[in-house]
Every structure is written in C-alpha cells, then in structure tokens.
C-alpha cells in the first residue's frame, strides 16, 4: 500500500543523501520526495511517498527515525491529512481545441502561466486524483512537457493522534 510520510530533519549538508541512500540501500521505493526549509531555517520538512506492505512501512519509519539528523517521522496516511501536488504542464492543442483547454484549466482552477503561438503552459495544484484527472484530459490535447513537484502533506488540525 501507498504511504505518505513527512519528516522533520536538520537542515544540514548530506541529509537528503542519507535519506535517499537509506531507501536505495535497503531496497525501498520512493515514488516522490519533496524538501523545503521550515520556518526555522535550521530545519527542513520532507514529504516522501513510498509503498510497501505493513512490515516494510514499519521498517521504513523505524529506519528513518534511527537517522541522527531526523527529528520526527509521521506516517500521515494513518491520520486525517491534506496532500497537495503541483504540476506545470505545457500543451500544444490544435487551434480548434484551444478554448477547450482554457475551459478545462478553469474547471480545475488552473492558471495559464505562459503561452506562445502553439502552446499553453498551465499550473494546476491539487490532490493526486485531481492531478491525474487533469493530465488525463490534457493527453488528447497533446502534452509537450510536464513537471511535477511531488506531494507535500500536512496533518489536519483537530484530528491529530
């Protein structure tokens, strides 16, 4: 099963490599990983999406906890939480499809951040289903390029442990 794990880590040189090395060294999957500074720049927040059975996920969280630079590990999958991902997608619709692309972007609360004669570059944020649905709709329009941030996740307040 798929799990989203958030980490509070020390913002030090080599931390990312310790964590990615742990995953590759022990044969765990990383589906996505995102890192950013915390409010206090001494710390960083990471969100990792991984998969495995219960025993593997238990090992992953324990192994992460064992790293000296890792301060807190939360498997948010077990709790009420919010997950978001952002994509920036460059599509090349035929002239007769241009309006449809703009309409769809509007429905998905996307924003056109760049355009050229033949392309629209659209930014969309949302949970996995929404992102996948939007990509699905854009496929027949002609996707030229696509980048995604990977997920970030946070616990909902008031539902905690």
């Amino acid at each position: 099963m798929r799990h989203t794990i958030t980490l509070l880590v020390e913002n030090k040189f080599g931390v990312l490599s310790r964590i990615s090395g742990l995953f590759s060294g022990r044969g765990y999957n990383i589906e996505s990983l995102s890192v950013g500074e915390e409010i206090d720049p001494e710390y960083s927040q990471m969100t990792i999406v991984t998969s495995g059975d219960d025993l593997i996920i238990e090992q992953i969280t324990k192994q992460l906890n064992k790293l000296v630079d890792v301060i807190k590990v939360t498997d948010v999958t077990e709790f009420e939480h919010v997950e978001r991902e952002m994509i920036i997608i460059k599509v090349t619709p035929k002239p007769e499809k241009k309006t449809e692309v703009l309409n769809l972007a509007g429905i998905f609360r996307g924003r056109v951040v760049d355009s050229s004669e033949n392309t629209y570059t659209i930014e969309v944020t949302g949970d996995e289903k929404k992102i996948e649905a939007f990509i699905g709709l854009m496929k027949p329009m002609g996707i030229k390029d696509l980048v995604r941030t990977g997920k970030v996740a946070i616990l909902r307040e008031g539902y905690k442990q």
């Binding site: 080599g14 090395g21 906890n65 064992k66 790293l67 000296v68």
Partner: protein, 584 residues
C-alpha cells in the same frame, strides 16, 4: 593550556580526545594529517599505535573496543588512507562496536576538485557508519568530536567517522568544550515499556518450553549478571548467538551453546520445539534463523532490543520491548520475583529433561585421530591449557566456527569475532588491540591459513609494540569453509579455494622478529601450545598442519530450517554407501 588562547584545529582535536579519556590511537600518517601527527610527536598522554595498513588500524581499534567496552579511536589520512578503513568500519557497524574514525581530508577549497588523495569518504561510509561528519569550520570541531563520541557509545553503539580537512587542522579559534550534546534527533530509548515487561513475565510463567536466545546486546549492555539471574531463577535454558558468546557461562548446565547454521543440535532442537523464545539483544540474523518461515514454529516471541529496527525485521514478534537489555532485565527479574509465584524447578522439569536427552543424543563431537591433527582437537587443547582464562579472537570461516564450538567461554568479552560482516583478516589486528588494552592477559587469535594472510603485515605492529599476541594457525592449505561448501553442494569442484602456495609461517614470523612454531603430528600439539602460549613471552605464530578434509558440523544448509542439520555421522554413512556400491 591557557584560558583565552586561540588553539589550532589539531590542538583542539587532541584536547578533545584527552577529555574523552583516549589513551591510544590506532593509525597511519599521510599528507593532510601531518599537523595532527606533529602534535602527537611529543604528546605524553596519547600514544599512537602505528599499524602497517589502515584496515589493520580499524580492526585493532575494534578489538580494543570489544575487549574493553570503550570506544576505539583511529586516525588516518585522506584518500587511500580513508578508503582503506571502510572494511573495518563496516565490520564494526554490523557488530555494533563503538569506534571514532578520524580521517584527514583535502583542504575545504579543494573538496570536489578531484584533488590529490581526495575521496568522498563521508559519502562512501554513509551506509556503514552510525553517523558521520565533515567538519568545514574549526569552530564546529569541539562540538563534532563530543557528538561523535556520544553517538558512538550510546544506544546501539557503532562507528562514527569525522572527516577533517587540512585547513581545519591549522585554523585557529577559542577552545570551548561543550558540556552537553544537543542532538534533537538522537534519543535512544533505554527503559522498556513496563506494561510489556509485565506481559513478558506472565508469558514466561505460562511457558512450558521456553528458551532464551542471547545476542551481542547482552555483552554490550553489561547484562551478564541479570541474564544469569533470569535464567537460573526461572530455569530457562540459554543459547548464545555468535555475538552473544560469553554473555552466559557455557559451563552452566542451562547453557545450550550456539544456535543456527553451525549451532549445536540441542540449541536448534530447543528453539524449534519451544513454546516461548526470549530474544535478548539479538537481531535474528539469517545464520541464526535458517529458513524464517519454519523458524520456531510453535513459539511465541518476546524480543528485547535497543534498536527498534531489529524488532519485526526478520521474524514475527509477540511482545516487542525496545530498551537496553540490562535495564529491561532488571525490571523483568524484579517482576518475576515479586508478581509471579511459580515453582520453577517443578514447571521446567520435563523440558530440562528433554534438553538433557538431546545433549546426550548428539553432543558436539568429531572423530579423533592419532595420525592427523584435527583442528577441533587444537581448539580443545587451547581450552584445556588456558582453562578458559584468555581472550580469544578469530578470523572467519572454519577456524571461527571451531573456536566458537570447542572452547568454553564463561565471561563476556572473552570471545572477539567478526560476526555480521564476516571479515577475514579481522582476528589478528583485533588481538593486537585487545592485547594493548590488557597487556597481562593471554590473547589468542585462532586463525586459518587463508585469513591470517589478509592482515599478516600487522606482525610488525605486534612485534614493535612488544605485544605477545599468540596466533594459532589451523593450516589446511584451503579456504576451508569455501572448500566445505564446494564439497557438499558443488560436487567437490574446488574452484579456487585451494591455496596452492602457503608460506612457511614459522619463517614469516621469524622474519618479522616474532617466534614461529610448528606441529605436524597430534603428539606435538600440546608441546607447541605450551611453548607458544606460556613459555615464549613475545608474539608467536603456531602453525598446525591440520586434516584438510575436516568439516564444521553440525551444518544447516543455507536456507533450510534449523533442525535440518547435517552431521558427521551422515557423511560416514554416505561414504559407506558409496563403497558398497563400488563393491557391488
């Protein structure tokens, strides 16, 4: 040192090491660490043991640490000096040995430029250290050294590496010794959960066929007394894993010896038929469990370990207790004495009788010979002559297994071996480290002719430092364990396991200024041992030409359940069958 005076990085490093109580370093000089070595030139408190290879330095520090429980400290140069430490670091990591390894590094401004003797040792050792540091600023140095020692010795111990660029060793700053460490992400859990311990006590009470499996954690946490109390009070037999040997006296009638691939028949039988396993400071290594699906099929499992990742990694666990073995056992023993009123002797009678029967049915044994020296006979003789009062180190392979099987270890830290990584070439430098820590003790490396050649250059270190390490070479002209597998599982195709040229070990020893002795007949064994162990007061190589066909038994084929054991008798039967076929 005057207050307010600025110190160089090298001076700070040495000062920090002294405050950590370091008396001995093991190491090898080189370009980028010359400033530090210059400090050591006339230092009165710290002595550096110059090995002849950096790998030897790390194993020696490791042997020192295993013999004493204190961290071993290594100082080497950058590049090849640093990469040569990797095997030693990985060895210590697998066996939870506290080491602080200080490597020189090229100046910070050259890092990443492929400078002369540059290696990304922090990157290389990330997966095989407990933690590692690159010090980029001399102001961080004291804090890093303090944290490194703290991490190395606390929780589940392990090696920590500090990479020190040359410019940091000359940079100057005020020396401030941090009184406390601030590591927000590092808090080993020492106290076990009380409720779980209580549950464990009741499981022990209800169990009819319990077995304790004691690992290296018992020795590391110093839980020898507590384990004995638990076993004797509740009358539970104890099997000690390779790393746990010495954690429970093998001469005690509750001892089952070692379990697993080359474990005793009765240890493996007891585990497989038990209804409760009490696993202490061990991690269910595949050499212990054999096929995990068939491991202890009828047992509930209580697992006590300081490392949460050891629990439920390889086998299912019913009562997981994360904590220091000694502290958990102290509470458990108290609970068993106050809350549980069982007639232990009565409750365990049938089970202990059963175990006694297994011990009689198939004891550890080998076929004695008057014609050729049996390696097991040499190990038995060492035990007989030393009466167990020695520190035994081993290399890896058959020599290691026979040393584990045919010598009886009664006290912790008397058996030093590379268990997890299985590093050939470990035993001799480790013996040097142990001898340095205990100059008056008898320290014996039980070696094979293959393994001893992997760090034979350390003869110079032993001789130069007047360390009377005794090396017993069980010389069979083969990589014996490899040969054994090839004989049993590869149709006797001895692919590259025969060491066609084995040096004259007596001459090698003498060339280095050590003593050399040799025995080629069983009748000579005792005399050579007496001479080598007791009469000669310097480093000795004792070369025993042993029966090359000898195999380590019992043996559980890799991946089989641990009660599927092969015995020497089976081999004899097979031989007879073969001969009968020929006659027909």
């Amino acid at each position: 040192m005057k207050a307010g005076m600025k110190l160089t990085g090298s001076e700070i490093l040495i000062e920090c090491l002294k405050r950590e109580g370091v008396k001995h370093l093991f190491g090898y000089p080189g370009g980028v660490v010359l400033n530090i070595f210059d400090m050591l030139y006339d230092d009165k408190d710290i002595k550096l043991i110059l090995t002849r290879h950096e790998q030897g330095a790390v194993h020696a520090a490791d042997g020192y640490a295993r013999a004493t429980g204190k961290p071993g400290v290594v100082l080497v140069t950058s590049g090849p000096g640093a990469t040569n430490t990797v095997t030693g670091i990985a060895t210590a990591s697998m066996d939870s040995v506290p080491l602080v390894v200080i490597t020189g590094q090229v100046p910070t401004m050259l890092i990443g430029n492929d400078a002369f003797q540059e290696a990304d040792i922090v990157g290389i050792t990330r997966p095989c250290t407990k933690h590692n540091f690159l010090v980029k600023d001399v102001n961080d140095l004291a804090v890093v050294v303090k944290e490194a020692f703290h991490i190395a010795v606390t929780g589940r111990p392990g090696p920590v590496l500090i990479d020190l660029p040359k410019d940091v060793t000359v940079g100057k700053t005020d020396f401030v010794w941090p009184e406390k460490v601030g590591l927000p992400g590092y808090k080993p859990k020492l106290e076990g959960n009380k409720w779980m311990i209580n549950q464990a006590a009741h499981m022990i009470e209800k169990a009819r066929k319990p077995v304790i499996v004691a690992g290296g954690g018992v020795i590391i946490s110093g839980a020898y007394k507590e384990l004995r109390e638990l076993a004797e009070h509740t009358q539970v037999p104890v099997t000690t894993t390779l790393m746990g040997i010495g954690g429970f006296p093998e001469t005690n009638k509750l001892s089952l010896g070692m379990p697993g691939m080359h474990g005793t028949y009765y240890a493996n039988k007891a585990i497989q038929e038990s209804d409760l396993l009490i696993a202490l400071g061990m991690r269910f290594d595949d050499r212990v469990t054999g096929k995990t699906d068939s491991f202890a099929p009828t047992a509930s499992i209580i697992h006590i370990d300081i490392d949460p990742t050891s629990i439920r990694k390889n086998v299912r666990v019913d009562i997981p207790i994360v904590g220091d073995v000694k502290r958990v056992l102290t509470v458990l023993n108290k609970t068993l004495k106050t809350d549980v009123k069982a007639q232990w002797g009565q409750v365990r009678k049938a089970w202990l009788k059963q175990i006694d029967d297994w011990k009689k049915e198939r004891p550890l044994t080998y076929t004695k010979s008057e014609a050729t020296i049996k390696p097991q006979f040499v190990v038995e003789k060492i035990y007989e002559l030393t009466k167990g009062d020695a520190i035994i180190t081993t290399e890896v392979g058959q020599n290691q297994m026979w040393a584990a099987q045919f010598y009886k270890y009664d006290v912790p830290r008397s058996f030093i071996t590379s268990g997890g990584l299985g590093t050939m070439g470990f035993g001799f430098p480790a013996a040097i480290g142990a001898q340095l820590a205990f100059p008056d003790k008898l320290v014996i490396d039980i070696a094979g002719d293959g393994s001893i050649q992997m760090n034979i250059q350390e003869l110079a270190t032993a001789v130069l430092n007047k360390l009377p390490v005794k090396v017993v070479i069980l010389n069979n002209g083969f990589l014996g364990m490899v040969r054994q597998w090839q004989e049993l599982f590869y149709s006797e195709r001895y692919s590259y396991s025969r060491l066609d040229v084995v040096p004259d070990f007596v001459k090698v020893a003498e060339a280095y200024g050590a003593a050399g002795l040799r025995a080629t007949k069983p009748s000579e064994v005792e005399d050579v041992l007496k001479e080598g162990l007791f009469k000669i007061k310097k480093t000795v190589f004792m070369d025993f030409s042993v029966d090359w066909k000898e195999k380590v038994y019992p043996m559980v084929p890799s991946g089989a359940p641990i009660d599927h054991m092969l015995f020497e008798e089976d081999e004899v039967k097979e031989e007879k069958k073969k001969r009968l076929k020929v006659v027909k």
